[in-house]
Each structure stands twice: as C-alpha cells, then as structure tokens.
C-alpha cells in the first residue's frame, strides 16, 4: 500500500495530538474513527512520534503509548494546541456559516451566529458584513416549513413546456440552491415519482394535507442531478461572448477553446422551449452541432418573436 505523504501525516498528527492530550486516554478505534484515519496508520504514526526526541533525551517530547487498543497520553509539553486555521479552512467555515445564516430558520442571535463571531474575532480577522450572501427567496421558506411539517402542498407551477402555470400536488423533501437557482426535490403525485422543480417557477403554494411519502434515502446531488436523469442532450459551438452558458448552466463537458475562443459544449436540455430561449439569447455566438433535429430551433424562434415587432 502506498505510504501517505509525510506532510499529510504530520498535519493530521498535529490535529490529533492536542485532542488526545485533552482526552488523556481513549481507544485507538474511537480516535481513528473520529479523524477518518486507518487504525494501523494511526498506531504507526503515534508510535513514531513517541520515539521523537531531542538531546539530551531526558524526557519524552510526546508522552504517548498504546496498550491493548487504548492510547494513553501523559503530561503534554509540545503540540498542545492545534494549528491555526489555514486561509482555505477559514473561508470554508466562515462562508459555510454565513451562507447557512441566510437559510430559513437561522437565528441571528443563535449558536451559529455566536460561533461565527467567536471564530472571526479569534482569528483576528473580523469579516462580519464583508462576506455577504444573497438572501433566500420567501418561497423557499414556505417550502422548508412544508418539509419540516411533512405536508403535501398544491403548487401552481410554470414548467418550461407548459403555456401557463399548472396546478399540481407535491410532497417536498429538500430545497437546495445550485448555480444561483433554487430547486426542490419532491414526490410528484401526478407522476408518482421523484421530480425536481425550480422554486422561482412556483407561482403559489397551498398546504393540502399530510405527506404520505418519505424522502428516498438518496436523492440526486445538485450538480449531478441532470446527469442521472434521462434528459436529452444538445451539442453546441459557443463563442467567447456566450461563455455565460457554461458558467451558468450545468454542462456535461466543455472542450478547450480554439484559437478564436470558441468551445464545444454538451449540455442537458429540459425542453425545446428552453433550448429556443437559450439559442435566441446567444444570437450568432452559437451553432447547434447535434442533434440535427434542433438545427432550426433558433431561426424558428427568431421568426416567431419577430412577428411581435412587425
């Protein structure tokens, strides 16, 4: 088995040691599990540091020994405090925390807010108010309440293919945002299956009763949920002015750009209407490569819209 890099092992040790010192004694298994490290790896690394020392070697630098599956740590001298949070870790925690503060149910005086404040102050990098995440739409709050109370709701939903919003009953499981849009995974009563809806296309929401279905154990993860679905694909050539397409929408793949900045993009298409809108907005910064059935979508849509302007 390949050895883990020395820096990874040392970094992990410097996290594990202060915790062990606080515990005094703990089972190898518990420590290994907590820090997602193999039992054998943990034992080997702890035995190694227990042998570390400096002249004149009168006392152990790190007083740790392992006996019958238990780790015992003596009076600490070194490595009693964890490493500072790296820039990446600080961002990860603070951005996650500030984003979560925008979610329905977050309490501005609650434990998350207090924890974030302590971290920001403790790091000496108070960025309160300087890392701003856009608020969650009110429809997400209504959905969240329905999820928490396990309710079935009737929504008027504007799908990309219907002419007008259509009433349908759903049992929402989880609401999430991805690439700037909010979605909800829900059991759709009409089709008797799991469906994903865009929250901003829900015109209205009314509670109709208790939910009868439980959330499936696994739901498609955002970013991948298009990939799992049986959705048609289109392959496009997109010019430099159309880069927002692959910045904004989930795509299967983007080729390296050619010398003029054009790329080939393959992306899922939820409906022909949706594709028509996309192509019109791109104008001459796009060409449909395949399927050929869609090569007239842009010009047909342009003619229909032009009628309004004549």
């Amino acid at each position: 088995m390949a050895q883990r890099p020395a820096t990874d092992r040392l970094r992990r040790l410097l996290i594990v040691l202060p915790w062990l010192m606080e515990q005094g004694e703990v089972s190898v298994e518990e420590a290994a599990k907590r820090f997602s490290i193999g039992v054998d790896d943990l034992i080997r690394d702890l035995e190694l540091v227990s042998m570390c020392g400096l002249p004149p070697y009168v006392d152990e630098m790190i007083d740790v020994f392992i006996d019958e599956g238990m780790i015992f740590v003596g009076i600490p001298r070194l490595f009693t405090r964890p490493l500072r949070l790296s820039e990446v870790e600080a961002f990860e925690l603070l951005a996650a925390g500030r984003a979560a503060m925008q979610l329905p149910g977050a309490d501005p005086d609650g434990s998350l807010a207090r924890g974030l404040q302590k971290i920001a102050v403790g790091l000496g990098e108070d960025d309160t108010g300087l890392l701003v995440i856009n608020p969650t739409p009110s429809m997400v709050k209504e959905l969240t309440q329905a999820i928490e109370h396990r309710q079935r709701v009737r929504v008027r939903y504007q799908s990309s293919s219907d002419v007008e919003p259509v009433a349908r009953e759903v049992e929402p499981f989880v609401a999430f945002s991805s690439q700037g849009n909010w979605y909800v995974h829900a059991h759709d009563v009409r089709s008797e299956g799991l469906r994903t809806f865009r929250v901003d296309r829900i015109e209205s929401l009314d509670i109709v009763g208790d939910a009868e279905h439980v959330a499936p154990s696994s739901m498609p993860e955002p970013g991948t949920w298009f990939a799992d679905a049986d959705i048609e694909r289109v392959t496009l050539r997109v010019g430099p002015r159309g880069r927002w397409v692959y910045e904004r929408y989930p795509v299967d793949e983007v080729s390296v750009s050619d010398i003029d900045g054009w790329v080939t993009v393959c992306l899922p298409v939820t409906s022909e209407q949706w594709l028509a809108r996309l192509l019109l907005r791109l104008g001459d910064s796009v060409e449909v490569v395949e399927p050929s059935a869609w090569s007239d979508v842009r010009s047909n849509a342009a003619e229909i819209v032009l009628r309004r302007y004549s």
Partner: protein, 309 residues
C-alpha cells in the same frame, strides 16, 4: 532511511524549544544524523522540510547573523504564529457549524479538518434546505485580504488591476469582489471567477475601508445594471404577456409596473446600463415579451433577431 515524519517532528520540536536562532549546522548536529552530511544535500533536504512545514501552515522564521558569524542564517519557529488562538466554542456552537457545513459544503474534507481543530468533528447532517456555495481557488485568498485590508492585484479582461478589496458578495450563483480600483480611481465590482491567474496580495499595506454599508448597495439587485463598465443609466419599457406577468412582477417588484392592461398583460419600466443583459432578459421570454423602448435598443434587438432568423 528514517521516516521523514520523524525528522519533521524533531525539527519542529527543536525550533520551537530553542531560545535563540539556530544555524543549519547546529540544527543538523542536534538532530544527529537525520540530515545528510554533505553541505549541498543537507541544504536541499532542509529547504524541502521548510517548504513542507510551510504547506501545513508552520512558518520557519529566519534572520541573518552579524558579528563573527556575519552572513550565516539563524532559524526558529514562533509558536504564536502557527498555534490556533483560544476560540472557546460551546458544544451548541460547534454543532451549529457542523450543520452549516453539511448544508452548504457536504463532504468537505477541508471543513471537517477545520472542525477538528476547533474541537468538533465532521459528519453533520444537512437539514431540509441546502445552499451549495460555488468554489473558486482564489476565494480564501480574497477573503483573507478583505479581512486584513490588504490590497490585491489580478488580471481582469486582459488588464492588470490593483484593488483594495472591501468585500465579497455571492449573488445569483456568482461571487463578486467589490472595492476601490486604483487604476480607475473609483469603486468597481469584479466577477471572481473571471479574475485570471493568481491573485497577489500585498500584506505590507493596510488600506482604509469606507464606513459600513458599502456592500449593501454595492451590487444592484437588478442584473440589468451589472457590468464593470458604468455608462449612464437608461430606462426600458417592456410589454409582458399575461401568462408571464406574475413571474416578472415577482422578479422586478410591483413598483416597476408602469401599466396594467385589461388583457392581464403589463408594461414594466426597467432601469438598465447593460444592453446585452437587457436583450438577453427580454429574449428569455420569447414572444411573451416585447421591448417597446428605447427605440434604438429595440432596433438593434430586431437586427439581432433578423441575423439568426
């Protein structure tokens, strides 16, 4: 060969415990045989260890001696420079962070490690609502620069920029950095994902930030006003068919409705600076929207359609 973790641990301990800076020669002799004897190989091994420690956040300080050891370097490690300051989180607070990470950064190894350092553990379970934060390698650097008020430099649209970063905003799935642009001598907003190359930070300078509230109005809620060039603002009138009227009213707000017609359609008045964004927004409704004014923009939209019809 001895395990490199052992040498790194010993080096770390030695440089933490020493009361005075140590030369490489002294370090090697204290660590008895763990470094190569030959000068060049020893130097190379030491530099490699230095870099490894830096990778995990431990900086080896150095100074050049004077006097009879003039020119020689001495090394030590300042404990306060790498140890986590006391952040006394309650169990509730740790758990709240755990849940926050699960809701916004599921399966983040980095977040889990950060929680370990704070005395918590990963494995939080997200609730019924989750916000997935877009990741970009330059965000942590920018956040630290914002918090420490350090100026940054980067390339944007092919031009080098010098910016005092005032804050970071996440809006509609994109991260923006807002601040004072020294080249333009004015406030500017940049899409972080469009900043090219490395962001370089000048940590020798601390800029002054304007009073609170600069971020609140920094980014227009109306995407038609976005764009880093700021020509003058104009107003567009757009006719929206009945079946899309509710969507538009929710998006732009009832105060933008200029006219409600008997057939249920509406005319909305929209301030805009970015014509591309306006055209894109109107075309997104296909024939459910018609741009009425300004007439020059309407004319260019018609030409846009004719070129692809």
């Amino acid at each position: 060969m001895a395990d490199r973790v052992e040498r790194l641990t010993n080096l770390l301990a030695l440089l933490l415990e020493t009361r005075r800076p140590l030369t490489l020669h002294e370090i090697a002799s204290e660590l008895g045989g763990q470094y190569p004897d030959a000068g060049q190989a020893r130097r190379a091994a030491f530099e490699r260890d230095k870099a490894s420690l830096r990778d995990i956040g431990i900086i080896i300080s150095s100074e050049t001696f004077g006097g009879d050891r003039a020119g020689e370097m001495g090394y030590w490690i300042d404990r306060s420079g790498f140890e986590l300051p006391e952040i006394d989180l309650t169990e509730d607070e740790v758990r709240a962070l755990q849940v926050a990470l699960a809701a916004t950064r599921p399966d983040s190894a980095i977040g889990e490690e950060a929680l370990w350092k704070l005395g918590g553990a990963g494995g939080g379970v997200g609730g019924p609502v989750r916000m997935h934060l877009p990741e970009l390698p330059s965000l942590p650097v920018l956040r630290a620069a914002v918090a420490n008020r350090h100026p940054v430099q980067f390339v944007y649209a092919g031009m080098p920029r010098q910016l005092d970063p005032w804050g970071l905003l996440l809006r509609d799935g994109f991260w923006y950095v807002i601040g004072f642009d020294h080249d333009r001598n004015d406030r500017r907003t940049f899409r972080v994902d469009r900043c090219d190359g490395e962001i370089s930070v000048d940590s020798s300078v601390q800029f002054d930030r304007p009073d609170d509230g600069v971020l609140a109005g920094a980014l227009p809620t109306n995407p038609l006003l976005l764009g880093d060039e700021v020509p003058h603002e104009r107003e567009a009138l757009v006719h929206i068919a009945r079946r899309r009227a509710w969507l538009v009213e929710r998006e732009v707000g009832p105060e933008r409705i200029r006219d409600r017609r008997d057939d249920g359609s509406v005319v909305v008045a929209l301030p805009f600076t970015n014509e591309d964004a306006l055209r894109s927004w109107v075309l997104g409704f296909l024939d459910d929207a018609e741009l009425l004014e300004p007439s020059d923009v309407r004319q260019r939209l018609i030409e846009w359609l004719e070129s692809v019809a």
